[in-house]
């Protein structure tokens, strides 16, 4: 019973409920917003955002915040087009370069944060400016090529009628979620995010996990950028600018705590679905741009704000339920989970040490 209660009151459940309600309400509020054509138009962009948001989830779960999404995303978008320069044969090398540049960009952020102790906000803000500068300098202000035909075809493809970008996002999300929840590395990753001190005490190389989060995030942004390029055929110069706030909003709506620790890439993916469908509904309503921004802003602010309301004080009747919920999420619990994990890790690490 307690397990059920905790599941219902889990911070990740809210976004599922909200998204479900949004989809139920959509056809009544704006006719056509749930039509086949509307979904086919919305899902590819949702897929791209979801892939970028996986990266942001990893970083936020480690107590960071990545403002370099626009820069790394745009580097990926530009490289996948400019390296082949229209030649089909260079697509694979271009993809490898995109992956390496994404990883390198993320590593730069990670090194700045972990080795030099710069606040994530400042470090990634600065590195973002560098990445954007590189994009502008390398292209001279505009992109001279279109994406290769193969890449265009791949990104516009469908699997059983579902846009491949959405399928790809789903596969990546599930893989990352499984990695985090089912592998020792993943569990340690959560422990490091929840309580770096406890993790360090357990003998874990905390910095390595944090570096990994930033590097993985860079890879996710660059890949998302490259996919957008293929889907648009002729990408704009800095397409990543549109992806910073939505990634953060999706992560927070998805239930990942901004302070680190608690996190869910699946929650984030649902958050992306919510934001994308919300945009679709508002567009279908024919709202003015100003109204569109106001509604989106208000809903995101509400979604984030509601989490911080001390419900257990306002609603005394819910106390028991909330306590259970808090039990699974509060920092104390996190370190509790940390303690549970700790003994396991101690054992693992002692084996590692003995091996070396």
């Amino acid at each position: 019973m307690n397990a059920l209660k905790s599941r219902v009151a889990s911070p990740f459940a809210a976004i599922w409920v909200a998204t479900f309600l949004l989809f139920v309400v959509s056809p009544f509020v704006a006719s056509g917003s749930l039509s086949h054509a509307a979904l086919q138009g919305m899902l590819p962009f949702a897929g791209i955002l979801a892939i970028a948001a996986i990266g942001q989830t990893l970083v936020i779960q480690q107590g960071g915040l990545d403002l370099s999404v626009p820069g790394i995303f745009s580097m990926g978008a530009v490289l996948i087009v400019t390296i082949p320069g229209g030649s089909e044969g260079s697509l694979i090398p271009a993809l490898i370069v995109v992956a390496l540049v994404g990883l390198a960009g993320g590593l730069i952020n990670g090194i700045a944060v972990t080795r030099f102790g710069i606040t994530p906000l400042v470090a990634t803000l600065g590195s973002n400016a560098i990445f954007i500068g590189v994009v502008i300098q390398a292209t001279g202000g505009s992109i001279a090529f279109k994406a290769t035909h193969n890449w265009q075809t791949f990104t516009a493809d469908k699997v059983l009628g579902v846009p491949i970008l959405a399928v790809l996002a789903l596969i990546l999300t599930v893989l990352v979620a499984l990695f985090i929840s089912r592998t020792i590395w993943g569990r340690r990753f959560v422990l490091v995010g929840s309580s770096p001190l406890a993790a360090r005490a357990a003998g874990l190389a905390v910095e390595r996990y944090q570096l990994g989060a930033y590097a993985g995030a860079g890879l996710a942004y660059a890949l998302a950028g490259a996919l957008l390029s293929g889907y648009l055929q002729s990408p704009p110069l800095l397409p990543g600018n549109e992806y910073l706030l939505p990634t953060i909003a999706a992560v927070v709506l998805g239930g990942t705590a901004l302070g680190g620790g608690r996190g869910s890439v699946i929650g984030t993916a649902v958050g992306v679905l919510f934001l994308s469908q919300l945009e679709q509904v508002i567009s279908a309503l024919g709202a003015k741009t100003s109204v569109e921004y106001l509604i989106q802003g208000a809903i995101v602010a509400l979604g984030m704000g509601l989490r911080n309301v001390p419900w257990n004080q306002i609603l005394p009747g819910r106390r028991g339920d909330v306590d259970v919920a808090v039990d699974t999420t509060s920092p104390d619990t996190a370190s509790g989970t940390g303690r549970a994990l700790l003994s396991e890790h101690k054992e693992e690490d002692s084996i590692d040490v003995s091996k070396t």
């Binding site: 039509s35 730069i108 300098q137 001279g140 001279a144 516009a156 945009e279 567009s283």
Partner: protein, 403 residues
């Protein structure tokens, strides 16, 4: 104990790798730009090394310089510093605009120094850019005032008070001639809007649903075009606008292909039948067309500003047996030549060009697939290239100059 030196060594190596990576990125970036700069006359500004992504611009450069050198009454004898500003600055249209201005400035020896500022659509950056030009001793400023809604007026006025020649072009600067700027040079946006609307409605047979998509909210180009299109639609009772438009509102693409594709897909989901499209930024139309294709719809008649990508899409569709009627109006970057000539002439003591209609030029159709002016596609050029910028001085003079 031995862990400490190891740790610091690792830290050192990491720092070194970081610096090396940054250096490699910057070097590769420089390499990418300089490969095309060999034809530039002299190095100096960053913009010069950018030249050729626009595809074949070098050829044009040589051509126009010769023409300019032969007829440079606008180039006076007093040495001047020329400020060049773009309210945006980060797309192919902006790049072509800068090239057109520089074609002229490089041909006049009186221009001793150039100061180039891009505002990235940030009004604050646009204003501080103008102020910085004033403080650096600019004698003339050529600017595209589209960073926001009339945002540049106070800064332009400050420049005028310091006796600096201010020539806004390509976007309505607001303000008054003589007080806020010296001369405003542009296409007649309302005439363009009318031309697009009348042509598309003709292709629609005078009835059906019409969709107009424009740039960022509040920009004067889209605002004027939308107003003119709405007027023409009112004159044609058989035509209905898919989404309401006026001088204040229109479906906003932000001149960004991703936004355009999303917006068009959403509109198509709501209105499955659309018979005519107008877009004031040709490079975005490719995304609009993709949304139609993704929804399995035939592409209707399209009127837009010119773009290589759009012309190539048209050609591809024609070859696939899905030809759609297409009409474009020049992307007008070449008007920058006259804006620069005017500014340089006023500041250096030359004779300014005698422009038609006080500088507000009516541009006719550039391409029209129906009347035989076939859209020009060059797959080897940049998707966003605009070939009207290759017009010779004689050709542009016929359109823009008196007599």
């Amino acid at each position: 104990m031995s862990a400490r030196p190891d740790r610091s060594r690792v830290k050192g190596v990491a720092l070194l790798a970081l610096v090396a990576l940054l250096a490699a990125l910057v070097l590769s970036a420089c390499g990418g730009g300089s490969s095309s700069s060999s034809s530039a006359p002299e190095s100096g500004t960053e913009a010069e090394t950018e030249s050729e992504s626009a595809g074949g611009a070098a050829e044009n450069e040589g051509e126009t310089e010769t023409a300019a050198a032969g007829e440079n009454a606008w180039c006076g004898s007093e040495g001047i510093t020329l400020g060049i500003q773009d309210g945006g600055g980060l797309n192919a249209w902006s790049k072509e605009s800068l090239e057109q201005v520089q074609l002229v400035s490089k041909a006049c020896p009186a221009v001793e120094k150039e100061i180039i500022v891009d505002a990235d659509f940030e009004p604050q950056k646009a204003v501080s850019g103008i102020q910085s030009m004033i403080s650096q001793g600019a004698n003339a400023i050529v600017l595209i005032p589209d960073s926001g809604n009339c945002a540049e007026v106070p800064a332009m006025r400050q420049a005028m008070q310091r006796d600096i020649v201010v020539v806004p072009w390509a976007a309505d600067p607001c303000g008054t001639e003589g007080t806020d700027y010296t001369k405003y040079i542009d296409w007649d946006t309302k005439a363009a809007g009318r031309e697009w609307a009348e042509w598309v409605i003709e292709q629609m047979g005078g009835k059906g649903k019409l969709l107009y998509e424009g740039g960022p909210a509040g920009n004067t180009v889209s605002s004027n075009a939308a107003e003119a299109i709405a007027e023409v639609v009112e004159e044609n009772p058989g035509v209905e606008l898919v989404e309401p438009i006026s001088s204040e509102e229109w479906p906003v693409t932000n001149w960004d292909p991703a936004e355009t594709k999303k917006l068009t897909a959403a509109i198509l989901a709501k209105h499955p039948e659309i018979n005519g499209l107008i877009n004031d930024y040709g490079a975005s139309v490719e995304a609009e067309v993709q949304a139609f294709q993704a929804a399995g719809k035939e592409i209707p008649a399209v009127a837009a500003s010119e773009s290589n990508a759009l012309a190539c899409t048209w050609k591809e569709e024609k070859e696939n047996g899905h030809e759609f009627p297409l009409m474009t109006i020049s992307s007008r970057n070449w008007l920058g030549r006259y804006a620069a000539q005017f500014a340089i002439a006023e500041a250096s003591g030359g004779t300014p060009p005698a422009l038609k209609n006080n500088g507000i030029i009516t541009l006719g159709q550039w391409e029209n697939s129906v009347s035989g002016k076939e859209p020009k596609c060059d797959p080897s050029a940049s998707p966003e290239a605009s070939f009207s910028n290759k017009m010779s001085e004689e050709e542009t003079a016929k359109i823009a100059l008196e007599g």
